[in-house]
Subunit: 201 residues, 2 copies
């Protein structure tokens, strides 16, 4: 096969193609763009990757990924330490925190219970959650798992495990997404939104 | 604003979001994926970026971006040195070379003539092309510019400039893309394909 560029460039393309959202074609486009912006993007990106890779730690308390341990969330003294929001993944933690509505702490499970994938309670970050709830000053646990079958199964399991601790256990509301059109929503969401309807006057 | 992670991670997200095909959301997803694959992807990616950024050069002969000068194409002795394919961009060079149909050399213009954007012949890599054609052993110049208005204007301009040199000047064929459905093609393409129809028996 004729080669139009060196193997180092191929390696870079193949590594970029592993990022979610980038395939081989966009990895090639990205590589060319990086090559054209060597000093403004390429070098800083390499430095940022190295720096983050060196500093990255998982928070012992909540499971967040950060450059500190405890993480920025856990060490933030302005947060309400009586509220713990349980999420599946770090991505969910970041997403909830971007909404700027929740000012409590988090707990990352690292997945959901799944009989099919052989994930039981011991594979998840559940025992530390129970310990945290029983020993700390937690008053409410908010279950913010995905509204999938596995997410909801895990939610029910956690609610049962937490029942004896005496803390309040709540879950995210189901309903119509803000900006969503009824016509495009599935029946389950519509039924949930109807059941949870609220007074407007 | 509450911060769920350190500023180094933010910097990384912002740099990744500059890649074509990645927005802020997919840059965040990419970052999390990189953090989870620190040793298998993140570190190698940082190393590949640094290595390529250090080695990258533009080929003096053809304008290709590579880790050598002359580039892999120009120093490949199996290629036909009498054929030069003129392309707008390095991405086009790589794309044509992947097709493995063309075994000649390339010449990257670096853009197209554009009255609107104030790009004249002096802004493009045209003089070196003329020199190359007049002094070397080039027998055919293949104009492989995009089938846009600017690309075709540039094609015509180059054909005129090259007319006095005595080399054969050709251009890519217009027609139905392989795998394309007639129903979805524009009139211009259909008309060009009809005009350039060939005998099949």
């Amino acid at each position: 096969m004729p080669r139009s560029h060196g193997s180092e460039i191929d390696t870079l393309i193949q590594l970029l193609a592993k990022l979610p959202g980038l395939g081989p074609r966009s990895a090639r486009r990205s590589t060319l763009q990086l090559l054209k912006k060597k000093d403004s993007v390429m070098k800083p990106l390499a430095d940022a990757l190295n720096m983050v890779a060196d500093k990255i730690v998982i928070c012992d308390t909540c499971g967040n990924i950060d450059t500190h341990n405890p993480c920025h969330v856990c060490e933030d003294t302005r947060r309400d330490r009586s509220l713990v929001c349980v999420v599946e993944d770090v991505a969910d933690l970041w997403a909830l925190d971007r909404s700027e509505t929740f000012k409590g702490l988090y707990h990352v499970l690292g997945g959901t219970l799944s009989a099919l994938d052989g994930v039981g309670p011991d594979e998840l970050n559940i025992s530390p959650l129970i310990d945290r709830v029983e020993t700390g000053d937690v008053q409410e646990v908010i279950l913010a798992l995905n509204a999938t079958v596995d997410g909801q199964t895990t939610s029910h399991y956690l609610a049962e495990r937490l029942a004896s601790s005496g803390v309040k256990v709540t879950a995210l509301a189901h309903g119509v997404p803000v900006g969503g059109e009824l016509d495009y929503l599935d029946d389950g969401t519509l039924a949930a939104a109807l059941r949870a309807r609220g007074s407007v006057s």
